[in-house]
């Protein structure tokens, strides 16, 4: 076990609120590893999250953090992005936060395509509220609310993102730290909206989707998959059977919202107040 202090590590002894054995630990390790290997300056990185156990991830990294409201990480990230194009922005939240409470923001963030990496801890259950179904819970799983089993088909985040031409769509499994790290590195390096949906077990509230289950129900990306082919990616994302892991889709051609909207390269905090001349010129129009 590598116990050396990473630049993104919190001081030793920092209390972590996650359960022992939680998939979050592995994902945290992958994220920190990706950031370190990319040589990202932590002072220039902002981690944005909502609420939930997954959303606590930025608390356990020594980075700038906007830990906002449940479901609202993406709008906050948008505000930060449009105010400062120099920052690296990574959103980290859970499946309930991103696809349930924040579903509308998810759709419109993909539509905008601003530069942000979105890492979703997808454990297919609500953990912090003690085990109710999440949007990605598999059918028939029994919970304290869905007492006879979940009756709805799970939300398919990859298919939805692909339908809106999200320019980077990937799935990882937290149990495979190395692959997860490498996908996250690619996502952070990608210029635009990059979605990484990360499967991970909830060892307390999800007795169905265990480490074993994920091992048996995921598979490598099929040989020869062309990740510039959106329809092929869509087919993979909607195919029954095992869930492929890796990069489904990359579209280098989609224009960035910041560019389309003409957002200045200069951060807003450096912007000077409007000059008297421009101000007076504005008033002239009212004469």
């Amino acid at each position: 076990m590598d116990n050396r202090q990473h630049p993104f590590d919190m001081p030793p002894g920092t209390d972590v609120a996650w359960c022992p054995g939680c998939g979050n630990y592995m994902l945290l390790k992958a994220v920190k590893g990706a950031l370190e290997e990319l040589g990202i300056d932590r002072k220039n990185l902002v981690m944005v999250s909502g609420i939930g156990q997954a959303a606590k991830a930025p608390q356990y990294m020594n980075v700038n953090m906007f830990n906002g409201l449940h479901g609202r990480a993406l709008p906050a990230a948008l505000g930060i992005r449009l105010s400062n194009r120099e920052l690296v922005i990574v959103v980290e939240s859970g499946d309930g936060d991103m696809y349930g409470e924040g579903g509308n923001h998810f759709l419109h963030a993909v539509r905008r395509n601003y530069d942000v990496t979105v890492i979703v801890h997808d454990n297919m259950v609500y953990g912090l509220t003690k085990g109710q179904a999440s949007p990605t819970t598999q059918r028939c799983m029994k919970t304290t609310v869905q007492v006879t089993g979940v009756i709805l088909e799970p939300f398919n985040p990859l298919a939805v993102a692909l339908a809106l031409d999200a320019p980077f769509v990937a799935r990882a499994y937290a149990g495979n730290v190395e692959q997860t790290k490498s996908i996250i590195k690619e996502a952070i390096s990608f210029r635009g909206f990059a979605l990484v949906d990360v499967f991970q077990p909830c060892v307390v509230f999800n007795r169905l989707n265990t480490y074993q289950w994920f091992k048996e129900n995921t598979c490598p990306m099929p040989d020869g998959h062309d990740h510039t082919d959106r329809m092929a990616a869509m087919k993979l994302a909607t195919a029954p059977g095992k869930f492929p892991l890796g990069v489904f889709y990359r579209n280098e051609k989609r224009e960035l919202y910041e560019d389309l909207a003409g957002i200045s390269e200069k951060p807003l905090y450096q912007q000077e107040q409007a000059g008297e001349e421009a101000f007076q010129a504005m008033l002239e129009a009212f004469r």
Binding site: N44, M65, P75, A76, G79, P267
Partner: protein, 560 residues
């Protein structure tokens, strides 16, 4: 003068032409608008007043009515009397044609000038003829307005204006309107604008460089005002997918160092409440403009009301500091918007600017020299390695760093947090953080704008209290009743109240006038000062108070 027409008939075109011409001819003008929630049809009106003393208030009585739709009589019968002159085309007016009506051949003249499309120009020309205001400025206006459409269109417009003008001039004196003499030789020194523009100018003066909003009448105007000027002033404009996104994007932007505003109406603000609470927790500045309209729910979407004070006052769960402004004039809109940004930045709190449809859509004038820019106080610090966003200080305010500026790490957290912004469940830390967040209440209160006095406070026995947009109507009503026993008090900041408020109001009979059904500000005043309110003059029909009805209320109150 009231201009009536169906939506899409061009009433706005007529008044938009007349207002600058009248203003530049030196008149004091005021205009307000009421319209239905539809895109075509119905009956909408714009009132234009020309007054001696720069009145800025809605008057119920109509001296001159220009009626374009067949629904005018039905819609406005309460506001016209034997002395009202009604200009209309007989064949379109409907069943109520009588001696007061003057058949005005708008269509005939328009066709003569080149086509029916010119009938609005005929109407504006007619009005200038009736008022005896020279046509020169209108010609210039038309040249400016239609220059891009070719010489023929310009000439046709001028011909249409002249035909209308001559018609207006030819009317016998008894069928014309006498108006006050111009107040200025030349009105060019004054600016003509609506409430929205004043708010926008205030925001730009305050260095606003970020707006994210979801359109909702009547709050949308601020979004469009800033969008039109975004390039010049480097303002980031984002139309959000919903109001929740709008306020959260505003907070993200503010966290990153933008000076952010969001605009909405009551219903949209309902959705923003959790974000307001977040602003309180993360001590991040945000300015929210609420253009009020009657609720509950969708209510009367295009009408006016002052019923969202309680919402603004109590929005968001948990306890945190906030400030609320409510401008009543253009000057106050420009000033309070800047103060809102200033307080938000200085005290790291959410600040709400509460207006309403009546204020937003009303047009009046302001001297160019009265557009005041408040000093710009930079509020962001460069961080160092040891930076902690919520470090404890004597006044509870921690220097605000932004990510990427300096060597420190900036963490904000919606969970209760420690000085470095990390989640905590320590009761002691919680106690200290609550204390920290409330230490700013005292200086925030001391910074509050005092209410302003209308009339003679020293001799008045009765104080009539108003807030926000009701200022103009109360000013005029008090002038009309001319009684030193009664003075007015206007609040352009509603919360916190200036500490001197109680002393200013005590030992007088207090009347509160507000555009809602319950008297929300009266309740707030009692809560904050312990003083009791003798009478509440309330109106929640969706219309603003008229000068006449406030005069009636006051006379009845003073003279029994």
């Amino acid at each position: 003068m009231v201009f009536e027409g169906a939506a899409g008939q061009g009433v706005q075109t007529i008044t938009a032409a007349l207002l600058p011409i009248l203003k530049n001819s030196g008149y004091h003008v005021f205009s307000c608008t009421e319209y239905m929630s539809r895109i075509r049809g119905g009956s909408n009106t714009t009132e234009i007043r020309i007054t001696e003393n720069n009145r800025r208030a809605y008057a119920r009585h109509i001296d001159l009515l220009f009626a374009l739709s067949p629904h005018a009589f039905e819609h406005l019968q309460e506001r016209i009397d034997d002395n009202t002159l009604i200009f209309a085309e007989k064949e379109r007016f409907g069943d109520h044609w009588d001696d007061r009506c003057i058949d005005t051949p708008l269509t005939t003249f328009a066709v003569e000038a080149g086509g029916q499309v010119y009938s609005n120009t005929v109407a504006a020309g007619t009005v200038l003829g009736i008022l005896g205001v020279t046509l020169d400025r209108f010609d210039d206006y038309l040249r400016g307005q239609f220059a891009g459409k070719g010489e023929e269109v310009v000439e046709n417009n001028i011909k249409a204006a002249t035909l209308g003008y001559d018609f207006g001039r030819r009317l016998p004196a008894a069928r014309s309107l006498t108006i006050p003499a111009p107040a200025f030789e030349d009105g060019q020194g004054r600016l003509l604008m609506d409430g929205t523009s004043a708010l926008g100018i205030g925001a730009i003066a305050a260095g606003c460089n970020f707006i994210s909003s979801y359109p909702m009448s009547p709050g949308t105007g601020l979004l469009t005002f800033l969008a039109e000027r975004a390039k010049t002033f480097g303002i980031v404009v984002d139309q959000a997918e919903d109001e929740i996104a709008a306020v959260n994007a505003g907070l993200g932007a503010s966290y990153a160092g933008a000076r952010a505003v969001v605009t909405t109406s009551g219903g949209g603000f309902d959705l923003m409440q959790e974000g307001i609470s977040l602003a309180g927790m993360i001590e991040t500045p945000i300015v929210v403009h609420i253009g009020q309209r009657p609720g509950p729910a969708t209510g009367l979407p295009t009408r006016t009301e002052q019923a969202d004070l309680n919402l603004a006052l109590h929005a968001g769960h948990g306890e945190f500091a906030r400030a609320i402004f409510a401008p009543g004039t253009l000057e106050e809109a420009i000033e309070t918007m800047q103060r809102a940004f200033d307080l938000a930045q200085r005290f790291q709190i959410p600040v709400i600017v509460l207006t309403d449809q009546y204020l937003i859509d009303s047009v009046s004038t302001i001297g160019a020299e009265d557009v005041k820019r408040l000093p710009f106080v930079p509020s962001i610090v460069q961080t160092d390695e040891n930076y902690r966003r919520y470090v404890f200080t004597d006044d509870g305010l921690s220097p605000r760093g932004v990510p990427g500026y300096g060597g420190g790490i900036v963490r904000v957290d919606s969970d209760e947090h420690d000085e470095s912004g990390l989640i905590t469940e320590s009761f002691e830390m919680r106690r200290r953080m609550v204390e920290k967040r409330f230490k700013r209440l005292k200086p925030l209160g001391d910074a509050a704008l005092p209410p302003s006095v209308i009339g003679r406070h020293d001799v008045a026995e009765i104080l009539v209290i108003c807030w926000g947009s009701t200022r103009g109507v109360l000013e005029e009503a008090l002038d009309i009743i001319e009684d030193n026993r009664v003075a007015g008090i206007h609040f352009s900041q509603l919360f916190p109240l200036n500490p001197a408020t109680g002393a200013m109001l005590e030992n007088r009979r207090l009347i509160v006038i507000e555009n809602n059904a319950q008297g929300q500000f009266a309740d707030l005043l009692t809560r904050e000062t312990g003083l009791s309110i003798s009478r509440r003059i309330l109106k929640a029909t969706g219309e603003p108070f008229s000068v006449e009805e406030v005069v009636e209320y006051l006379k009845e109150d003073v003279h029994g």
